[in-house]
C-alpha cells in the first residue's frame, strides 16, 4: 500500500491559526457589536477556511481537493499539484535539504535579533555578519571585509537617526 505524504507543516500551521481564531473569538465577547462586525466577518471566513484546510491535509478529501484547486488560471490548476506529487524521491530529498537550510537561516535571523537585543546593533552586526560569512564557506579575510562594511553601514544609521540605534540591554 502506498504511503500518503502528510503535510505536517500545514497541519501545525492550521492548528495554530485555529488556536488564534478561538482566542480572538473569546476576546470578542468583551466588545460591543458595532466594533466587532468587521473582524467577525473575516474571522468566520478564516475559521471556515482553516478547518477546511486542516481537513484537506488530514483526509485528502476529493471535494476539498477540488475546492483547493480553484483557480482562474489553468496553469495553476490541480494538474500542476498532481505533477508535484509525483516528484521522485531524489527531488523530495533535495527539497527537504533545501527546506532544512531555509529553516536554519530563519533561525539564524532570530539569533541575530537576540544579539541585537542584548548587545545593541553595532556589536551584533559585526559579530553576526562575520560568523554568517565565515560559516557560509567564505575566507576569513572576506568575512572580515563584509563584517566591516556592514558595521560601517550600521554606523551610518547610528549617525543619521536622532535617537541613535538600539544600544542593547547590557550597554543601554
Amino acid at each position: 500500500m502506498k504511503k500518503r505524504n502528510v503535510n505536517l507543516v500545514g497541519i501545525v500551521f492550521s492548528l495554530l491559526i485555529i488556536a488564534y481564531c478561538v482566542v480572538i473569538a473569546i476576546e470578542m465577547k468583551k466588545y460591543k457589536t458595532g466594533i466587532i462586525i468587521f473582524p467577525s466577518v473575516f474571522l468566520v471566513i478564516c475559521f471556515v477556511s482553516v478547518v477546511a484546510t486542516l481537513l484537506l491535509y488530514l483526509t485528502d478529501w476529493a471535494f476539498l481537493k477540488r475546492v483547493d484547486g480553484i483557480s482562474m488560471l489553468k496553469s495553476f490548476s490541480l494538474s500542476e499539484n498532481e505533477s508535484t506529487e509525483k516528484a521522485t524521491d531524489a527531488v523530495n530529498e533535495c527539497t527537504k535539504r533545501k527546506h532544512y537550510t531555509e529553516l536554519k537561516v530563519l533561525f539564524s535571523f532570530f539569533l541575530f535579533f537576540l544579539m541585537v537585543y542584548l548587545f545593541g546593533f553595532l556589536p551584533a552586526i559585526s559579530v553576526y555578519s562575520f560568523l554568517f560569512s565565515f560559516l557560509s564557506s567564505q575566507t576569513v579575510k572576506r568575512s572580515i571585509v563584509t563584517a566591516f562594511l556592514l558595521t560601517v553601514c550600521g554606523y551610518l544609521f547610528y549617525a543619521v537617526l536622532p535617537g541613535g540605534l538600539w544600544p542593547g540591554v547590557f550597554f543601554g
Partner: protein, 492 residues
C-alpha cells in the same frame, strides 16, 4: 475630472520631476532598480519593501519618484541575467531565458540585450499610450464608489486574489481573511476603542505596516535565496554582438511588438495575475503567429522581443486596478499601496479623485524609469553584468542587516524587528503551503480603510440594509461569486 485638470497635473508634476531633487531621485531609483533586477533573487518586491522605510518622512511625490523608478527599472534589469546566465532576474523574465541565453551562447549577447532593452522600451511606451486616455474614464468610474462599495470591493479583492494568484485556494482564502483579522488589532477606527490588545500597549497602534511588509517580502525571500546555490561563475559568457542588429530586430518585428504590448497590458490589468503569465503567454503568442517555428528555443530574437515587450506593458497595465480600485495588480503594487498608506493617502477608488498629482507622478516616474533603464541596458548592459558576480549569500546577509535597521528606523522600537521576523516566518510558511504572500500583506494595508468605510456606511444608512446593496454593490457581489464559482464549474 476633466482632460484639462489631468494635463495641468502632468505639467505640474513633470516640472517637479525635472527639478534637481526629482532627477536625483529618479536616477538613484533607476540605478537601484537595475541592480535589483540584475541580481537574481532580489526583485522588485524585496527592493521596494527595503526602500519603503527610508521614504518615511518624505513627501509622497518624492517617495513615488524613487519607488516608481525602481519598479520600472527592475523588470528591464531582469532581462540581463536571463540572457547572460540563463537565470531570470525576476519572475517576469522567465520566458526570456528560452531564446535569450541561446543567443548569448551564439556570441550575440549584446544584440540580445539591446533587443530586450528596446522591446522593453516599446512595451512600456505602448502600455502608457493605452493607459493615459483611460485616466479620465477611470476617474469617473471611481467617483461612483461610496463607503458600501468600498467594503464590498475589499471582499471581492480577497476572493479574486485567492483565485488568481495561483497555488492553494483554501490557503489563500485563509491567509487573506487572517490578515484582515490581524489588521483589526489596535484602536478601532472612528470609535477609538482598543481591540484585541491583550493588555499589551505595543498593540494599541495595531500591526506596524513597515516591519510587516519588510518581513513578508524581504525576510522570507532571503531564506529562500540563501538556500539557492550560486552557479553564476560557471555560466559566465563572453559578451559580444552588435547593437545595430537590435534596432533592426525591433523594426522587423513591429507587429509582434504591438500585439504583445496589448496582451501584456490586458494581463497586467487583471488583478493578481503575475508577470510570469504575461511572459509565457506572449512567448506562446509569438510562437503561434510565426510561420517558421523551428528557431524558437534555439536563439530566435522574437523569443526575446515578445516576453520583454509584454512584461513592461504588464507593469503599466497593473496601474489600472491598483490606482482606480485599490486592488493591486501584483505584489509590487501591493507595496505601492503600502507606501500610499504610509504617507497618509488612502489607496482605493478615491485616490484618483483626491490625489491626482500622486497618480500622475507614479505614471511619469515609471515612464522615466523605463526610459533610463532601457537606455542603461542598451548601452551599458555589458558593464551592468558585473553585478552578477555578487553571491547569493552576501546579498542575503546585506539585505537582512538592512531589513533590521530599516524596521528599527521608523519608530526606534526594537520590538518592530521581532514583528518583522514573525511576519517573515509567516510569509515563508505561507509560501511553502502554496499560498500567496500578497494576500497576507494587502489586508494589513487595506483593512483599516475598508473597515472605516463599513462603519461609515453603517452610520449613513441608519440601519437600512438596502444601502449596502446599491447597483454597484450588487455588481461587485455578483463578480465575487462569479470569480469563485466560475473556475469551480469550469473544471467539472
Amino acid at each position: 475630472m476633466d482632460i484639462n485638470s489631468i494635463i495641468s497635473s502632468f505639467g505640474l508634476v513633470g516640472g517637479y520631476l525635472l527639478s534637481t531633487n526629482g532627477i536625483s531621485l529618479l536616477l538613484i531609483g533607476t540605478i537601484i532598480g537595475l541592480i535589483a533586477g540584475i541580481v537574481p533573487g532580489l526583485g522588485a518586491m524585496t527592493t521596494l519593501a527595503l526602500l519603503l522605510p527610508f521614504t518615511y518622512g518624505w513627501g509622497p511625490l518624492d517617495a513615488m519618484i524613487l519607488l516608481s523608478a525602481v519598479c520600472g527599472a527592475v523588470t528591464v534589469g531582469g532581462s540581463v541575467p536571463a540572457i547572460l546566465i540563463n537565470t531570470p532576474g525576476t519572475d517576469s523574465n522567465i520566458a526570456t531565458t528560452i531564446d535569450g541565453y541561446p543567443l548569448a551562447q551564439q556570441g550575440r549577447a549584446i544584440e540580445a540585450l539591446g533587443t530586450a532593452a528596446l522591446a522593453s522600451l516599446f512595451g512600456s511606451v505602448i502600455g502608457l499610450v493605452i493607459f493615459l486616455p483611460m485616466i479620465p474614464v477611470l476617474g469617473r468610474v471611481s467617483l461612483a464608489f461610496g463607503p458600501p462599495e468600498v467594503f464590498w470591493l475589499g471582499v471581492f479583492t480577497l476572493v479574486v486574489l485567492s483565485t488568481v494568484t495561483g497555488g492553494s485556494f483554501l490557503v489563500n482564502l485563509l491567509v487573506g481573511s487572517l490578515a484582515f483579522v490581524l489588521s483589526t488589532h489596535g484602536l478601532g477606527p472612528i470609535s477609538g476603542v482598543p481591540r484585541f490588545t491583550f493588555g499589551i500597549t505595543y498593540l494599541w497602534g495595531g500591526i506596524p505596516l513597515v516591519p510587516a511588509l519588510v518581513g513578508i517580502f524581504a525576510i522570507s525571500e532571503m531564506a529562500k535565496l540563501y538556500s539557492q546555490q550560486s552557479e553564476r561563475e560557471e555560466k559566465r559568457l563572453e559578451i559580444k554582438g552588435s547593437r545595430k542588429n537590435a534596432i533592426k530586430n525591433i523594426l522587423a518585428n513591429f507587429p509582434l511588438v504591438l500585439r504583445t504590448s496589448v496582451l501584456g497590458f490586458i494581463i497586467g490589468a487583471i488583478p493578481g495575475v503575475g508577470g510570469t503569465v504575461a511572459n509565457y503567454l506572449a512567448y506562446g503568442q509569438a510562437v503561434q503567429f510565426s510561420k517558421d517555428r523551428s528557431k524558437f528555443g534555439k536563439g530566435d530574437v522574437r523569443g526575446v522581443i515578445a516576453p520583454e515587450v509584454s512584461n513592461n506593458a504588464k507593469d503599466v497595465g497593473q496601474l489600472v486596478p491598483t490606482l482606480t480600485l485599490g486592488i493591486p495588480g501584483s505584489g509590487t503594487m501591493a507595496i505601492f499601496l503600502g507606501v500610499l498608506t504610509l504617507h497618509g493617502l488612502n489607496p482605493g477608488p478615491f485616490l484618483l479623485r483626491d490625489h491626482l498629482d500622486v497618480v500622475t507622478m507614479i505614471v511619469l516616474a515609471l515612464a522615466m524609469g523605463f526610459l533610463i533603464s532601457c537606455f542603461g541596458v542598451f548601452w551599458f548592459g555589458k558593464y551592468l553584468a558585473k553585478f552578477l558576480r555578487i553571491e547569493n549569500r552576501t546579498i542575503c546577509l546585506f539585505v537582512v542587516v538592512i531589513c533590521f535597521l530599516a524596521s528599527f528606523f521608523i519608530r526606534n522600537q526594537i520590538i518592530d524587528c521581532l514583528v518583522m521576523l514573525i511576519f517573515g516566518v509567516l510569509g515563508y510558511f505561507i509560501d511553502r503551503l502554496k499560498g500567496s504572500r500578497v494576500l497576507l500583506a494587502l489586508p494589513i494595508i487595506l483593512g483599516p480603510i475598508i473597515e472605516n468605510n463599513l462603519i461609515l456606511a453603517n452610520q449613513i444608512s441608519g440601519g437600512d440594509i438596502s444601502y449596502f446593496f446599491g447597483k454597484i454593490s450588487i455588481s461587485i457581489i455578483l463578480l465575487t461569486f462569479f470569480s469563485f464559482l466560475y473556475p469551480m464549474l469550469k473544471r467539472k
